[in-house]
């Protein structure tokens, strides 16, 4: 029976485990213990790594990479909105949602890789500042949550069967959750610039 549950509800069980781990981390104050240990890494990232050196020495390189980060986030936004508005039945209603989901996911994956790579560069240039910013950590958590949600819950579910067989409310919830989580990633990213 246990193996049956694990096979049929792998994503749900995975999510439950992740939530449990987060809960335990908070309960046993692991996060508070890890936080100071991370500071030397952030200092190294800014003052000793080559990306930190590039970012702090050449303002034009830093700004160009920032622009790349913005563009990749725009493509992520486009892919997420097109997919999720289709799942909600708002856009592209005459095209099968399976086709849209499959087509935009490729675009999403590549943009996410570019966004993470350029994001690391941008963070390295101001690593000693972002370390102290709560909004930076919120963004990292939102990014982690968004990526896990996308690769372990949303895509596996949408690829598992024809979309007519999925409960309509499940599809709507998936779409709304996806829009909200990626909006949070983008909005917190913007807010880092104001802090």
């Amino acid at each position: 029976m246990v193996s049956n549950i694990l096979n049929n509800y792998r994503s749900v069980v995975g999510l439950a485990v992740v939530l449990l781990v987060v809960l335990l981390i908070e309960l046993f104050e692991v996060r508070a213990a890890i936080y100071p240990v991370l500071f030397p890494f952030f200092e190294w990232l800014k003052y000793s790594s080559w990306i930190g050196y590039l970012g702090t020495t050449y303002g034009s390189v830093y700004a160009t990479v920032q622009a790349g980060h913005l563009i990749s986030m725009a493509v992520i936004g486009g892919a997420v909105l097109v997919t999720d508005l289709r799942l909600l039945g708002v856009l592209l209603k005459d095209i099968p949602s399976e086709t849209i989901t499959e087509g935009t996911h490729k675009c999403f994956k590549y943009s996410l890789i570019v966004a993470i790579a350029t994001g690391i560069f941008c963070a390295a240039g101001v690593a000693d500042k972002v370390y102290y910013m709560p909004v930076f950590w919120v963004k990292m958590l939102a990014l982690l949550a968004g990526s896990c949600f996308m690769f372990f819950i949303k895509q596996p579910l949408l690829n598992s069967r024809p979309h007519e067989e999925i409960e309509p409310w499940t599809m709507r919830l998936l779409a709304v959750a996806s829009i909200l989580v990626w909006f949070t990633v983008a909005a917190t990213g913007r807010w880092i610039g104001f802090s």
């Binding site: 303002g59 034009s60 700004a63 160009t64 920032q66 622009a67 913005l70 563009i71 986030m73 725009a74 493509v75 992520i76 936004g77 486009g78 892919a79 997420v80 909105l81 097109v82 508005l85 856009l91 592209l92 005459d94 095209i95 086709t99 849209i100 087509g103 935009t104 490729k106 675009c107 909006f183 983008a186 909005a187 913007r190 807010w191 104001f194």
Partner: protein, 190 residues
């Protein structure tokens, strides 16, 4: 002459109460800028999906004009919000923007991007039905899509460069750059 007129107009705008209110309010400025940047996801996000389809990179089995038609509305909504917030951002800091080389290049590129969009749209309508099911659009439309991608990427980059001060008027001595950036006082002092 044109630089002097632009600067006078910008100084007049900057003297207005609402302009001062926008720039001095921490939240008004941040909300405006955040909305301007976040709407990129709707406007440029939709536009890039259309361009990628024209190039055959994504959704090759879906008719390209169908994608362009259906994403037209959200894209336009995104651009309208971006322009409104963009105009307000300029209104909040008119002198700084009028004397920014990056801002001027951005405006020029925006004009090119809209001409390209208009030509692209006309060509797409003219060729409608002849290639719709093809995985890749005809060469002129592909060229239009690549020009669109390049122009908008550069527009975003120029927008990102505006807050940086590498070519701010007091830091530049090159006459051509001073003229291009509209640094009236520095040019007069030469």
């Amino acid at each position: 002459m044109i630089n002097e007129l632009l600067l006078q107009f910008a100084q007049w705008l900057e003297g207005q109460e609402y302009s001062q209110m926008l720039v001095s309010g921490y939240y008004s400025w941040n909300w405006l800028e955040a909305t301007h940047v976040l709407t990129l996801m709707v406007s440029i996000g939709s536009l890039f999906i259309i361009d990628f389809r024209m190039l055959g990179w994504i959704l090759p089995d879906v008719p390209a004009t169908k994608i362009a038609d259906r994403l037209h509305k959200p894209m336009i909504i995104g651009f309208v919000i971006m322009f409104i917030t963009g105009i307000l951002l300029v209104y909040a800091k008119p002198v700084e923007n009028v004397q920014s080389l990056w801002f001027r290049i951005k405006m020029l590129l925006l004009v090119f991007a809209f001409i390209n969009a208009w030509v692209f749209n006309s060509r797409m309508r003219a060729a409608e039905g002849t290639w719709d099911s093809a995985r890749v659009a005809p060469k002129p439309l592909r060229a239009g899509a690549i020009i669109s991608l390049c122009l908008w990427c550069t527009v975003v980059a120029m927008g990102r460069f505006i807050p940086y001060d590498w070519v701010d008027c007091p830091k530049v001595s090159n006459t051509a750059i001073l003229w291009a950036a509209g640094c009236v006082n520095e040019l007069n002092a030469l």
